[in-house]
């Protein structure tokens, strides 16, 4: 493996080579890959810099790179997990990677969830469909230090039962007495043996009615779900300064230079992807 530094100056565009050590089918078209660094120097750099919320650019030489969050938490830095839907050239290529194959990773970039500010608070996690991965990174960062937090409520919904991701972890959370898990699928998406709720996430959230007192919310999902969930959170008495979300945009460099990912004056790769709902409200909606 050739040296990634040149006269002491690191080449910021050169990715690390990763071994695929695990692969899981989460849902139709959605896969999780577990990756390990080949180079211990790169791994150490990751251990020093990675905090929950940051993202990476995952790729295959010959195809390109694609941006996803790091779905594994900052409390588990021996590997990187990423979850993505197969949709374009790079994700299709990543989806066909098998254990033992090599992929590339560049990162971690971006800002982080301020987990220490959540100590002593109740936590409300709300996610929709393929947006559970970034939320899950925060969930595990908190569950791995469970005693630092109050009540933990997770509200998660997908279009259909098959579309729910991290199914085995959902079961695990379901069985823990220190988490309240509220699962839902969209009307018509339930299977005959579905035990949980049916309804869109915002309305299910309102039914569950978690208290806003001393509570921080982490919300990730497609734009339309976020819009309506924020309204529901408002009805429940949540302040937008205490609701955290992640934004994503098309990226190439990940380091603020290629000029692509900004929403108004905010560069998602440098000043995001983690924002409070209040910060998002200040961004021009016409650029989202």
């Amino acid at each position: 493996m050739t040296d990634n530094t040149q006269n002491g100056q690191e080449n910021i565009y050169r990715p690390a080579i990763m071994n695929v050590v695990g692969k899981r089918d989460e849902a139709p078209g959605v896969k999780t890959l577990r990756l390990e660094f080949q180079d211990p120097v790169e791994h150490e750099r990751f251990r020093q810099t990675y905090r929950t919320g940051m993202f990476g650019l995952y790729g295959i030489f010959g195809e390109g790179e694609s941006t996803f969050c790091v779905a594994s938490p900052e409390t588990r830095k021996e590997y990187i997990e990423c979850t993505f839907r197969q949709s374009g050239r790079v994700t299709s290529s990543l989806a066909s990677a098998e254990v033992g194959d090599l992929v590339t990773y560049r990162g971690p970039y971006g800002n982080r969830f301020p987990i220490e500010e959540f100590y002593g608070k109740n936590l409300l996690f709300i996610a929709g469909g393929i947006a559970l991965p970034p939320t899950r990174s925060v969930i595990w960062s908190c569950l791995d230090q469970r005693d630092k937090f109050g009540r933990v409520t997770i509200v998660y919904g997908a279009r259909t039962v098959a579309d729910l991701v991290y199914k085995h972890e959902l079961e695990e959370w379901q069985n823990r007495s220190d988490i309240e898990l509220v699962l839902t699928v969209d009307p018509g998406g339930e299977s005959p043996d579905w035990q949980h709720r049916v309804g869109f996430v915002p309305s299910v959230l309102e039914e569950a009615a978690p208290s806003p007192d001393n509570c921080v919310a982490v919300l990730c999902g497609p734009p339309v779900m976020i819009k309506f969930t924020l309204i529901s959170l408002g009805k429940l008495g949540f302040n937008e300064e205490h609701v955290y979300t992640t934004l994503e945009n098309r990226m190439k460099c990940g380091v603020g230079k290629c000029g692509r990912c900004n929403v108004g004056s905010v560069y998602i790769c440098k000043e995001g992807p983690v924002f409070t709902a209040a910060e998002v409200a200040r961004m021009p909606a016409g650029d989202l």
Binding site: L102, C253, G256, K257, C258, N262
Partner: protein, 337 residues
């Protein structure tokens, strides 16, 4: 006592610079386009144009830049870096607007993460600018608070003397002094009075524009649709702009080996911000035009205290449909009053 460089000494200067290991580059007109190219003799230079058609950024941020080669094996992938070679260069005869533009892009390419492709070339290049004694109707450096004899980004500024006999020499930096030391013997001491710089009228009120752009209510103004109706969404203004820096990565090769390249891209292109899902945050040309103006005159100065424009005017000069930022900023100046 001021120093001057006589034009007929230029060939000797080039020879001495070559001997010192510098490649000498200047504006060359060939094949219906003027651009920066390496020269051997002074008569290859075209120093009479208002400014060359292509910009100085070609020398620091080329249209296509091979970054590294990858070789994919079963158990490992080898990468071989293609960082720009260590090569000292002197650019002779850039215009102050082009040199300022490079200085404007330095904080961007160095924003927390340093782009080694850019800085390698920047650190190895001496820029010798020639102050403008003439301007055309498209020049607008003064509207950007720069000037036909700006020193921003320049290592040596030459001010033309009368009768085309040469230039008054101004050392501006350590790098410039070192380059001049190689040709010290060719300079004359003379209390020469240079020609006055060109008169470039101010065309718009930059501060008023910034304020108008910063106002969130103007983001959705109908102005954006009206001003950009004829924009066809090509990349001419962005590619001929010395400060524009957007890029794309492309892997070119076969299954086992190839080169990852950094290529120019443009926020004017329809698919620039297109998500794979099909959602495009900037799906109309007016949204893309707004992004261009906002980025140059609002977001970039907000982050780096510099406008992402040096007033060279190429955007308007070359636009196939006669757009360019001047008209937009003039209209915004009117709107802000």
């Amino acid at each position: 006592m001021t120093k001057i460089l006589l034009r007929d000494r230029l060939d000797d200067c080039i020879t001495r610079w070559h001997a010192a290991g510098f490649e000498v580059i200047g504006p060359v007109s060939k094949n219906n386009i003027s651009q920066f190219a390496a020269i051997e003799k002074a008569d290859e230079l075209d120093l009479g144009a208002i400014l060359p058609g292509r910009t100085l950024k070609d020398l620091f941020f080329p249209q296509t830049e091979p970054m590294f080669r990858y070789r994919i094996g079963k158990q490992q992938i080898d990468t071989e870096e293609y960082l720009p070679p260590e090569r000292q260069r002197i650019v002779f005869g850039a215009r102050p607007c082009d040199a300022s533009a490079m200085a404007i892009d330095d904080p961007l390419f160095g924003w927390d993460y340093k782009d080694s492709y850019w800085f390698r070339r920047r650190n190895e290049t001496v820029i010798v600018t020639i102050a403008c004694t003439a301007a055309d109707e498209f020049c607008m450096c003064t509207s950007l608070k720069l000037a036909p004899d700006s020193t921003l980004g320049s290592d040596i500024l030459l001010r033309p003397l009368e009768g085309n006999r040469g230039w008054l020499v101004e050392e501006l930096s350590q790098r410039g002094s070192e380059a001049l030391s190689r040709i010290e013997a060719l300079l004359e001491k003379e209390a020469a009075k240079p020609l006055p710089p060109a008169d470039v009228p101010v065309k718009f009120d930059l501060e008023a524009c910034r304020e108008w752009l910063q106002n969130p209510e103007n983001f959705e103004s109908h102005f954006w649709k009206e001003i950009s109706m004829r924009c066809i969404g090509c990349g001419t203004c962005t590619f001929l702009c010395p400060t524009c820096h957007c890029f794309d990565f492309q892997d070119e090769g076969d299954t086992y080996t190839g080169i990852r390249r950094k290529n120019w891209d443009s926020c004017s292109f329809a698919l620039f911000t297109m998500h794979t899902s099909g959602h495009n945050p900037r799906s109309t040309q007016s949204a893309r035009w707004r992004q261009r103006i906002m980025h140059k005159f609002n977001y970039f100065p907000g982050k780096f205290s510099l406008n992402s424009c040096s007033g060279c005017g190429r955007c308007t000069r070359e636009c196939p449909v006669d757009m360019g930022i001047t008209e937009t900023l003039q209209e915004i100046t009117k709107l802000s009053k």
